[in-house]
Amino acid sequence: MIEIEGVTKLYKMGSETIHALLGVALKIHRNEYLAIMGPSGSGKSTLMNMLGCLDTPTAGRYEFNGKHVAAMSDDELAEIRNREIGFVFQTFNLLPRSTALSNVELPLIYAGFSAQDRRARAIEALENVGLGNRMTHKPNELSGGQRQRVAIARALVNRPSIILADEPTGNLDSRTGVEIMELFEQLYDQGNTIIVVTHEEDIARHARRIVRLRDGLIESDRPAD
């Protein structure tokens, strides 16, 4: 469902050019559970943002469900982000003044659902991640693990084809991190496609396939043991 080839990303900083990605090729199929690993600065987030249609490559080909992403307009990209991709960030990225429920409803608002459907689906998604009793809480009234669960519920609520998580446990203690990874395991078992970025071997072990990046290049790509 995802196919990239020769994907390059350059950042210009002053007179310097930073090569974040240097011709990456990758194929990801439906219902895969993939971990992207690599040291800090190796280009993991850059690749993830590209896959999530938040960013566009400087060069290279990107096909999402058979459609060329490079040729898409901003609004078409927004639509893909809304319907096809569920993004989970290291820093949760919840709207601080909205309740858990409102945060989860947000993608459905942009998708044009009626208020009733929205509510029902958001409640279901929150119950799925075990937060049925925290729906009216605002992010600052929730623990880190609970915030990340809200973010996962938000990523799931519009039933995307793929879930992208960039260091989802990076801001959590290890016990909570394990809980979150168990949640991803469940989602995978329910038939979701998941890509997780991490630099922790413990976390990567949950995945079925591990891609290792180094200096903007794929170093290895093989099944997890």
């Binding site: 639509e79 003044r97 947000l106 993608p107 942009y110 938000r154």
Partner: protein
């Protein structure tokens, strides 16, 4: 996505920064308030004046040396000052010439310094209207006798020391007795009260009941000086002969003034129409002035809105990034911020309209005009406010909508 959802988002983020929203609003409020206030007063006064506030009385017109206060001043002032005064003799000649054409010819003299009336140990305030009139003064000025009598032709011819007084004077000097037959003193001269006028109330902020009128001939005799010029009010017999009467009156005036055929008229004619017209002229000037002032205020307020919206966009860069990352389109973000700007502007405008209508009507009521609600101006006001919101909100909203999602997310 639906517009009402975006509305909710916009309003809730305005609520977060209540004080800031209100301060930004207030600029718009001030701009709208001033123009709506002025337009309300002007429309109310215009309405009242046009619908029957007969300044001169019906079918009446007036001659005097100077044009009405509305349009005097400036370059022409000298020209009017150089004119000969209208004398009592000329007025009496005019009156004789108008016999059979108009019955009510009121000859009036004032010296424009307010006076104080004294009876025994009681005094009025020193701001009473004091002047001379003939037997037609009351009719021409819409006064009625409550008790006692009006001047007779004989009183005026013989310059008898008599007076008629308004209710305001009577209340001060004769709180518990009839004024008729009593002798009061004004500026050291004694006058016997022969008539008490019926109550008139206030007009244009001035009491009509604080008045003392003596026979015009007596007034001339005792206080006549070279600065005084006679006012002559004439009432036509009917609406039908009104224009004809004015033509004849001008001829009579020219004869009375001894003008040669080639001379220009050296007196001013007022009619209700000409007063309304000159009021309209002043009203238009005031309105134009208030438009300019509000225009500047609204422009400044618009820039204020733009400034606050730019600050808001910067502060909420992260929020915009989050919204974009979960699929908000450009147009959704644009609309959200545009609605915020319009909401601030419209709310400010609405408050301005309410305050303006209240203040404008307050002023109108004080000037004895009736209350109005200026629907058209209110509608225009709201339209202009929406325009300001959209106009000055567009650039910040567009800036928000065009943020790169990744850059915006990374913003702390």
């Amino acid at each position: 996505m639906k517009i009402q959802e975006i509305f909710g988002m916009s309003l809730s983020s305005l609520a977060v920064n209540k004080l800031r929203s209100i301060l930004t609003m207030s600029g718009i409020t001030i701009g709208v308030f001033s123009v709506i206030g002025v337009m309300t007063t002007v429309s109310a006064l215009r309405g009242s004046i046009e619908s029957g506030l007969n300044i001169l009385g019906s079918n009446a017109f007036q001659f005097q040396k100077f044009p009405s206060g509305f349009s005097s001043g400036g370059e022409n002032r000298r020209k009017y000052q150089l004119r000969r005064n209208i004398t009592l003799e000329q007025g009496q000649r005019y009156q004789r010439l108008m016999e059979g054409i108009a019955e009510v010819v009121s000859l009036e003299l004032y010296d424009f310094t307010p006076a104080q009336a004294v009876y025994q140990n009681r005094k009025t305030t020193p701001d009473q209207t004091f002047g001379g009139g003939n037997q037609h003064y009351l009719a021409a000025n819409q006064y009625a006798i409550e008790t006692g009598r009006n001047f007779t032709e004989g009183d005026v011819e013989l310059a008898r020391p008599l007076c008629v007084i308004g209710q305001g004077v009577a209340k001060k000097l004769f709180p518990a007795e009839t004024p008729i037959g009593k002798t009061i003193k004004v500026r050291g001269r004694a006058y016997m009260v022969i008539g008490l006028l019926a109550e008139r109330g206030t007009s244009f902020g001035q009491s009509q009941d604080d008045i003392i009128i003596v026979p015009v001939s007596r007034f001339q005799m005792e206080f006549g000086n070279e600065r005084q010029s006679l006012n002559i009010a004439t009432q036509a017999l009917s609406q039908e002969v009104y224009n004809e009467t004015i033509d004849k009156a001008i001829t009579a005036m020219r004869i009375a003034r001894g003008l040669k055929p080639e001379d220009e008229n050296d007196f001013e004619l007022f009619s209700n129409e000409s007063l309304i017209a000159s009021f309209a002229k002043v009203a238009d000037a005031v309105a134009a002035g208030s438009f300019v002032i509000s225009g500047i205020a609204l422009l400044a307020a618009g820039v204020g809105i733009m400034n606050i919206m730019l600050v808001s966009v910067t502060e909420r860069t992260k929020e915009i990034g989050i919204r974009k990352s979960i699929g908000a389109r450009k147009i959704s973000i644009l609309t959200q911020f545009l609605i915020e700007a319009v909401a601030i502007s419209l709310a400010g405008g609405l408050v301005g309209i309410l305050l303006g209508v209240a203040a404008g009507n307050g002023l109108a009521v004080w000037m004895k005009a009736s209350i109005i609600f200026p629907w058209l101006w209110a509608a225009i006001g709201l339209l202009v406010c929406s325009g300001i919101g959209v106009g000055f909100g567009f650039y910040p909203a567009w800036k928000a909508a065009s943020l790169d999602p990744i850059e915006a997310l990374r913003y702390e």
